[in-house]
Symmetry: C2
Subunit: 253 residues, 2 copies
Amino acid sequence: MALKYYHAEPAANSLKSMIPLFEKGLEFESVYVDLHKFEQHSEWFIAINPEGQVPVLDHDGAIITHTTVINEYLEDVFPDVPLRPRDPVGAARMRYWNKFIDEHVMNHVSMHGWHRMVGVLARGIESGEFEALMERIPLPDQRKKWADARSGFSEEQLAHATAKVEYAIDKVEGALGESEWLAGDNYTLADINFFSHCGMFVDRMFPEMEVTTRAPRMTAWKERMLARPGVKEALAMPDHTNPALRTFTGEAR
Amino acid sequence: MALKYYHAEPAANSLKSMIPLFEKGLEFESVYVDLHKFEQHSEWFIAINPEGQVPVLDHDGAIITHTTVINEYLEDVFPDVPLRPRDPVGAARMRYWNKFIDEHVMNHVSMHGWHRMVGVLARGIESGEFEALMERIPLPDQRKKWADARSGFSEEQLAHATAKVEYAIDKVEGALGESEWLAGDNYTLADINFFSHCGMFVDRMFPEMEVTTRAPRMTAWKERMLARPGVKEALAMPDHTNPALRTFTGEAR
């Protein structure tokens, strides 16, 4: 049994499947993919994941991509230390939240991150070289995201994304009034999903939302998340983010 | 054990969870929700699903919403006649496709459907009454979709949606060159998902794409889908679509 995990810094997607690996106490080989150097679009990486995106789980040669899919896979293969409820109604509740986060949260937080951080990177590349880099990106949507980051997302796009993030915070705050964790009484993949894509940094990323007063239950939940052994171990993984990018975003990683 | 399924016509979302119910030979009470009369936003329905959307599965009082979640739930509770591969790598492959269809296909086909069909409905409602109806819609995204359908989606939005549908057709065509069904050698929820949201009517909806010549493998796959007992039974369910809407769309359901 050999697990290999290809990932970038411990935040967002790369963090999301790393937490379950640690929670379950699974031994895995960590392979760092340097996004600053566009390694995710390099030939060696495209040979592993033709979509050119991190993270990737390699389990004895089986390649699993997309974090929600990876995390369900880990539950199927390593059911000890369950992060997916064993009762079907609980699992459905967890999947409801995963779907909401994947479709209504992730991309909207991500747009702001790209606008602030990837934009700096994208604008730092000379014309000609930028186009050559773009040609190496397999997914059309991803090429468009890079082009938008370089030119800057529109005010309208950013405002829509902000509204989506606010809606999500209020929805999560409401759910945490009903139960201790997002999908019920137990810590699940839904908590890990929301934490990785939004909860862990939303207060620093959008100070104008005054998240700690707007969402006190979510703020307490974040502390419970930070106390989880798997979260601690994952967040202690090396962070090679270029300091210039980190400063620009107000630590928005 | 009592199953109740709230649904509209046998197409798209409503079809997607109806097929597994029939494939598994499960007895269920069918409750028709009339979208022409905005029943999905009525008080009695909102009491069942606060998001005001069909379909909904009620299993002994447990309310499950969102078709991908419902279909995984049916696999968890009724594993006979499996529509989700039992090996974890196969299940991951199925989930990869479900995610692709949910996030990159469904809304884009849907936009054209709404533009052509729901637009007629929305423009037929008098001002004042329309706004009152909008106030009853719980999800902000859904309110926006109704407003866009009434005013008409922009050429840019429609062109983007068309490009996404073309990308999906080519991707599916490629996959069907590797295996008989979308996620491998077996008919799975991924096939049911793509069929319900796109495959069953894409040729009639976008004649300019010349789907049958562009995607011959997908065309043959569609015939295999239409031969499935569960698909036949589901498609034989009553269709109350207003004929004026059906004609307008060139049968684009």
